[in-house]
């Protein structure tokens, strides 16, 4: 998949968090707590993913006395992209020399 999404560590963090439970709808604040990202960092990433058709959004059905919340879930393309990106990250991490390449 040739997508022009910046593969920042924060984006990978968000993708990895969605992959923890692939079918679950996630809330913004819960995602923020799980990833440690602030709203000003998290939401532009979510918006970018949605713009590329990798993330679907939905409004929670309203429950009395509680406002409906905006929910997010990776699409099938998003799941494929997320798995590929996190795999690339894992391979890169394995390939990195221990102790920053300093010979012991």
């Amino acid at each position: 998949m040739n997508l022009k999404i910046r593969r920042s560590p924060q984006t990978l963090l968000v993708l990895a968090e969605f992959l923890e439970d692939e079918q679950a709808w996630r809330y913004g604040y819960d995602m923020s707590r799980a990833t440690g990202l602030k709203s000003g960092t998290l939401y532009p990433i979510l918006m970018r993913l949605a713009e590329h058709g990798l993330l679907e959004t939905s409004w929670e059905t309203a429950v009395e006395g509680r406002p409906p919340r905006h929910m997010y879930k990776l699409t099938q393309d998003g799941l494929r992209y997320g798995r590929a990106q996190t795999a690339v990250q894992r391979v890169a991490a394995i390939g990195e020399p221990a102790f920053g390449g300093v010979g012991l």
Binding site: K4, S39, G40, Y43, P44, G53, H70
Partner: protein, 233 residues
């Protein structure tokens, strides 16, 4: 409600109010989360972060036929009320550069002449493409969603064709106009500055979506939604 939380709610309401149509839903989503944040100070931090959404101006999301029709109406409304910005800016640049070339020709060195000539040619090209981009087909008279969908798809196809034909060099022309201006300034470092600037821009151009790709994506979205709608009927 305590003052800090009241301020958080006020900020997030303002963000919803000021968000662009493509961001409205996201700003509302951010605002709703405030109720679920226990700490007032954390809620305030969340609300301040939500202001960043205002910096983005993504296209209006297209998920069903009604949203395509809505995007069509919004597009037509914007075209009628917003002046042709690209055309006006580049026409000004063209006028400015031609003015310099004509009235200061004798006082400029070869590099400056070349710089302003490149900037003028790029501005002329951008003005023509900007004018063609701003033109709009006949907007539907009635309120029928079907007509608006057809209108919007037609406009997106026309822009895709423009930017994959005559306007294909649009992003490059923006770079060359700026590079020309840079070459026109006085000082011995300008050739190096111009080369560095152009090289950086060319790298950046590879990272951004070109206009034809953006419009093609929109046409694909519309076709996909219409296909799904036809299948469900």
């Amino acid at each position: 409600m305590r003052p800090v939380r009241r301020l958080a709610v006020r900020i997030s309401e303002k963000a919803v109010e000021k968000a662009s149509p493509g961001c409205k839903e996201w700003a509302e989503g951010l605002a709703r989360e405030i109720e679920f944040i226990d700490s007032d100070w954390r809620a305030l931090g969340w609300a301040i972060g939500s202001l960043r959404v205002l910096l983005r101006n993504p296209p209006v999301p297209l998920r069903n036929a009604e949203e395509i029709a809505r995007a069509g109406r919004l597009f037509a409304g914007n075209r009628e009320h917003i002046p042709p910005t690209i055309l006006l800016l580049t026409a000004f640049q063209l006028f400015d550069n031609v003015d310099r070339l004509v009235f200061r020709w004798g006082r400029m060195d070869h590099l400056q002449r070349a710089g302003f000539a490149i900037a003028a040619a790029s501005a002329a090209y951008l003005a023509v493409v900007g004018w063609m981009e701003h033109r709009m087909g006949k907007r539907p008279e009635d309120m029928d969603d079907g007509d608006w969908i057809e209108f919007y798809r037609g406009e997106m196809v026309r822009r895709r064709d423009l930017f994959s034909g005559l306007g294909i060099l649009f992003p490059v022309a923006i770079v060359s106009m700026c590079a020309g201006e840079l070459l026109g300034i006085e000082g011995s470092t300008r050739p190096y500055l111009t080369v560095c600037f152009t090289a950086v821009c060319m790298v950046l151009l590879r990272l951004v979506s070109w206009p034809a790709e953006t419009f093609q994506r929109k046409v694909d979205d519309i076709d996909r939604i219409l296909r799904q709608a036809r299948r469900s009927v």
